[in-house]
């Protein structure tokens, strides 16, 4: 196994709310190998976006450790953060909200290049053109504003801006969720092509399991701030072990009209992540919940590279 590009150990991110402390990311540990894609799945409010944003220092972590290229970046000063921004980038879900409406396509892509101070005037123009070409934005659109573009092209601009400085690590936060399927496929292919060319490492955050299966090498499944299962993409879909992962996978509507799978229907509602009780947060909806599930759970490696956080996993599988 090669050295991981990014390593996260017991990471926590809490937010103070009027109702108490919200445990958005609670004791999450995993690592991502260089040049690979880590998918992070879970339902709304599970902390997957917060996790991505904490990794790249859009949020300060509450506790735990983040290692990047072998160095500890959990706490960094302004100068170091500036350097990190070049290497760690993010693509947002809604390119309409994340692009400056008063900047043209060209200006949007050129800005990070300018800020880096690495390019002289002429080189700046050339580099901007190269990136537009790389993400498939037509030359004639260079003076267009975001509102003049359709969703797919807007997202290409967002990708171009994020990848402008050739970052080592990019968090893709639901980058295709706002797009129609035919356009979604174009953007997914683009992201894969760019990874092949540059060797960039992705963390791909999404609620769409078909998309995550398609694009990821490894997958983390989150439930209410906790990491419940992580393993290779193939293993996860072939042999899910955690009861939540099983229910999640069985809930995906399948286009296979001949082999109907049995669905695990969950009862109950998602509990609040504010001041949560100790123990497994899925227990309230879990068909296998027992007394010991209300004790703190530990992420255990059941098979090589297959980690599960469930004290009853051996009994139920």
């Amino acid at each position: 196994m090669s050295t991981p590009l990014i390593e996260v150990k017991h990471l926590k991110k809490f937010f103070d709310t009027p109702k108490g402390t919200l445990h958005a990311v609670d004791d999450v540990t995993f690592s991502i190998e260089k040049g690979k894609t880590m998918g992070v799945v879970g339902e709304s409010g599970c902390g997957k976006s917060t996790l991505g944003r904490t990794l790249i220092h859009l949020y300060e972590s509450t506790d735990g450790q983040i290692l990047f290229e072998g160095g500890d970046i959990t706490h960094v000063n302004k100068k170091k953060l500036h350097e990190l921004r070049e290497k760690m980038q993010i693509i947002f879900q809604d390119p309409f909200a994340s692009l400056n409406p008063r900047m043209t396509v060209e200006e949007t892509i050129r800005e990070p290049l300018e800020l880096s101070g690495k390019f002289k005037r002429n080189a700046l123009m050339e580099e901007t053109e190269r990136i537009m070409d790389m993400v498939g934005i037509d030359e004639r659109l260079r003076h267009s504003y975001p509102h003049e573009l359709d969703g797919g092209r807007r997202q290409r601009v967002g990708i171009g801006r994020a990848l402008a400085l050739n970052p080592a690590f990019v968090v893709c936060d639901e980058p295709v969720s706002a797009l129609d399927v035919s356009i979604q496929a174009q953007v997914l292919n683009l992201l894969q092509d760019l990874q092949e060319q540059s060797g960039v490492t992705y963390m791909f955050v999404t609620h769409d399991l078909s998309v995550v299966k398609h694009i990821s090498d490894h997958i983390c499944v989150m439930y209410l701030g906790q990491l419940v299962e992580t393993t290779s993409s193939r293993e996860l879909f072939e042999r899910p072990l955690h009861p939540y992962t099983k229910a999640l996978l069985s809930a995906i509507p399948s286009i296979d009209i001949h082999n109907r799978k049995k669905r695990i229907l969950l009862q109950g509602e998602i509990v609040s992540p504010i001041e949560p009780k100790p123990g497994c947060r899925f227990a309230a909806r879990c068909p296998y919940a027992a007394e010991k599930c209300h004790q703190p759970q530990e992420l255990r490696e059941l098979e090589k590279g297959h980690f599960v956080s469930c004290c009853r996993v051996e009994e139920i599988n």
Partner: protein, 327 residues
């Protein structure tokens, strides 16, 4: 109610709807014809702007006019044209015989009205019942969608997204409608909640023998709940058929393209095969086949004239002149 022979339960016949926006004519629905029988579910599949929601809203006559305008066509409920009914008559049908589940439960509910009262309101309007009876019916409906009746007096903001959508479903089903128009009813929900909600809809549909039109862009949902499928592109039905016909033998290049764009949970594909290009500008539709500019099989003939919706076999219809010549 007398059962008439050979008259479809609901028929949309040759519907044409356009919108006027900034002086431009937007051709949203172009000669759409569909039929649906009691207890059956018809899926309307297509991408944003294909005209799916406009079709549903035309059936209920809730299109904002202007900017929308129904240019031609008929909506026949057991042979009676809804488009010609006086407004008052239509009011009696809306919410009683035909009702709609809207996509976004956050905007479909009144934020300052208790959820139970929102359900009871429709019941009181359509059924000759007392206030207390309407309230009782609303409580039963809440229980039916899995919400304790004790939450009757709660406000929408006190519910989670999935529960709000279940309130909207309870509202739509409170008067046991004959036809349910479900406009992306689960798009705003998480998958495990989506599974619960689809299950509730299916169960209630079976119990009440409701006909349903399921509008969605998710082919997985279509596969799970629909009997027939109409694939809509640029305001036209480009392909129609039952589940086997559409999923096992997709015929129109657009339908084939949709399947190729979809990452499938059951198979491993290295690369997706997206449809090239973008959906057409509905104010300036291409001549002939609207899909031809994006179609890998297009010939000159495709853009010459309107293409007919031709029968392939069984119930399978397809709007393409090059079908079968792909290989």
């Amino acid at each position: 109610m007398t059962e008439k022979q050979n008259v479809p339960f609901l028929e949309v016949r040759d519907l044409v709807v356009h919108y006027t926006s900034e002086g431009k004519e937007i051709h949203a629905v172009n000669n759409v014809s569909l039929t649906i029988e009691k207890g059956q579910t018809l899926g309307l599949v297509g991408e944003t702007g294909a005209g799916k929601t406009t079709i549903a809203k035309s059936i209920l006559r809730i299109l904002p006019e202007p900017p929308a305008h129904v240019d031609q066509g008929a909506i026949l409920l057991e042979g009676r044209n809804l488009l010609e009914l006086p407004a008052q008559e239509m009011q009696k049908i809306r919410g009683k015989r035909i009702s709609m589940i809207f996509q976004d439960p956050m905007t479909a509910l009144n934020p300052v009205m208790r959820v139970g009262e929102q359900i009871a309101e429709g019941v009181a309007l359509h059924e000759k019942v007392s206030r207390a009876e309407a309230e009782k019916r609303a409580q039963e409906m809440l229980e039916m969608v899995g919400i304790p009746a004790s939450r009757y007096r709660d406000y929408p903001h006190q519910f989670s997204g999935g529960m709000k959508q279940r309130v909207v479903i309870a509202m739509a089903l409170a008067c046991s409608p004959d036809i349910l128009l479900a406009d992306e009813p689960t798009t705003a929900l998480d998958v495990t909640i989506q599974a619960q909600v689809l299950d509730i809809i299916k169960e209630l549909q079976k119990k009440l023998n409701t006909a349903m039109i399921m509008i969605t862009h998710d082919l997985g949902i279509v596969a799970e709940v629909c009997d027939h499928v109409a694939v809509i592109y640029a305001g036209e039905v480009v392909e129609f058929g039952n589940l086997e016909e559409i999923f096992d033998h997709p015929a129109h290049p657009y339908t084939i393209g949709l399947f190729g764009s979809l990452p499938d949970i059951n198979s491993d594909v290295e690369r997706l095969s997206p449809i090239a290009g973008m959906p057409p500008d509905p104010s300036n539709l291409p001549k002939g086949c609207a899909f031809s500019p994006r179609c890998p099989y297009a010939t000159e003939e495709c853009s010459r004239q309107k293409i007919g919706l031709d029968k392939i076999d069984g119930t399978h219809l397809c709007r393409c002149i090059n079908r079968g010549k792909e290989e």
